[in-house]
């Protein structure tokens, strides 16, 4: 990985106050919001990489997420809507399946996808099949990702896949599955295209599919 910019490095070191003041200084000095966003994403991607390597843990990701939230508040008014879509890389729809409200893992996946430049439509938790379908219609993503933590929610996965099929969208979108209750076999049985054990797997798979699309 090439050397991190100062801003990315500050994010990586979880320096909230410093990140905010450097970002506003950069804005004052005429840096584009898009540029700042990309640097922030670099920092987030680096934290994601460290998490994947077991060099840092969820508390660090949570803090990084809060920093990103704070910076985005300042940047959002400046970012034109279109610019929010980092160039080339597609959209990913993410959600925790119906009747399941665990979101810590899903949020990590969302964060790492965003860190890698994807436009992520985060549907939150307890997402019904219909909501997944709507989001696919509205955003035309290359990939949707479902997170499942409860074995009692296996049905929600197959129902979602069926709903996408019935809406005639199945050929347009790849479906990945993850979360503590997911397995390779479950992904196959429920008609998903891919099972990912870690958030990094989600990034790798989404990158492959968006290139293919």
């Amino acid at each position: 990985m090439s050397e991190l910019s100062q801003l990315a490095q500050l994010i990586n070191e979880l320096k909230l106050a410093e990140v905010k003041s450097l970002a506003s200084k950069m804005i004052e000095e005429g840096a584009s919001a898009q540029d700042i966003l990309v640097q922030c994403q670099e920092g987030m991607a680096e934290i994601g990489r460290r998490f994947d390597q077991g060099e840092c843990f969820i508390p660090e990701l949570v803090v990084a997420g809060k920093i990103m939230e704070a910076v985005m508040k300042d940047l959002e008014p400046l970012l034109k809507e279109a610019a929010a879509t980092a160039e080339g890389s597609g959209a990913v729809v993410m959600g925790t399946v119906m009747n399941d409200v665990h979101d810590i893992g899903k949020d990590i996946v969302v964060m790492m996808l965003r860190g890698s430049g994807f436009r992520v439509i985060d549907l939150g938790v307890n997402v019904s099949p219909e909501k997944f379908v709507e989001a696919v219609k509205d955003n035309n993503p290359a990939v949707i990702g479902m997170s499942v933590l409860l074995t009692t929610c296996y049905q929600s996965i197959s129902k979602t896949v069926e709903a996408i099929q019935q809406a005639g969208l199945r050929d347009h979108v790849s479906i990945m599955l993850g979360g503590a209750a997911a397995t390779e076999i479950l992904a196959q049985k429920t008609g998903c295209d891919f099972y990912g054990k870690t958030a990094m797997d989600a990034v790798v798979y989404a990158s492959q599919r968006s290139k293919a699309a």
């Binding site: 979880l14 998490f51 077991g54 840092c56 843990f57 969820i58 508390p59 949570v62 803090v63 809060k66 009747n99 409200v101 810590i104 074995t151 009692t152 296996y154 503590a180 209750a181 397995t183 076999i185 479950l186």
Partner: protein, 398 residues
Amino acid sequence: MSGDMEQIYNERLKRYVAAMRNEKPDRIPIRPLAAEFCAAYAGYTCQQVTHDLDYAFDAVLKCCADFDWDAAVSNMVFVWTGSVDAINLKYYTKPGIDTPADSCFQYLEPKDDDAHMKEDEYDALIEDPTGYLANVWMPRVSRDVQPIGEPSTYRNNLAWLKGGMSVLQYFQRLGEQGARMKNETGTVSAIAGCLKSPFDIIADKLRGYRGLCMDLFTQPEKVLKAVDALAPHMMFNALAGADPDKNVPITIWMHRGCVPFLSLEQFERFYWPSLKAIVEEIWSQGHQILFYAEGDWNENLKYFAELPEQSIIFHVDKSDLFKAHEILGEKFCLSGGIPNELIAMGTPEEVKDYCKKVIDAAAQDGGFIMDAAAIMQDDAKIENVKAMTEFTREYGVY
């Protein structure tokens, strides 16, 4: 109680206790933590067993009678709507009302900025934990309890009254259920007394896990003080419900202390010292603790090995059972380890194969209790639970 039943009960108790003390009983005891599974087996909905203790107890007794388990939890569907309604509690969903009748109750974690305890309230909590909980926390989690300073209402007064009564009633009924299990099916009531680590209670019920993660960076000293301030209360609570005969263990429901929820460094600083002291104190009073270690604790096992011999029973959820046996097996009994995915989706043959693997590797010298990895809900297949039970009863003879 008939003489036969008494004999069966005594045999089972002896078997269960011997295994927990890491000794070798006549065979491996079977002690499933079966929750909504019991309802499904008895033909009740989750709604019925959550709302009405008669159904809940009946479902457990049916399972005890039919499966012949050595020990079982008197009611693993531990949320009773009666108590939730008594104070109009916000944080549990009720099956049949908030969610479908065939879904289990659920704990709702508030949004980050709506945590039950705010980031600037550590001093108040540290100074007087019970006062803080009664005066600040309760009005936030109950729709009826009024905050201090607001005019009291009829509902407020009744909430405190009914809340106290419902808890008394629940625990009295639990006692009766334990006696029924003993007398009617000869089954040991598996656990008594409930513990949480101070860190987990702050994460789960006060600051929220994410809020607490922020605090670890922004105000670590306060977190440490709060952990210490809560420790005696957690211990008191656990001992108050413990088995006076000191046979069955207090249970600690360990939630978010393992990697990756905390780094080992954070664990050493924030999670472990207070918990270790609590375990040592409880053990010095003669009670064992069932470590219900939710998730994967592989990285943290070495710390548990520091605890006094026999002081805990380590329950394996997603931890590596074979590694746990290697690191902890000399000192402690292990339980669990049969994956819930397998029990929900596999075949009886697959379940038996897995049980065999586990018994061969981790139960040869005693000190093992058969159980699923996690609490069994209504997705557990009856034939697979049967397979786990029957196979262990035959193959688990020493």
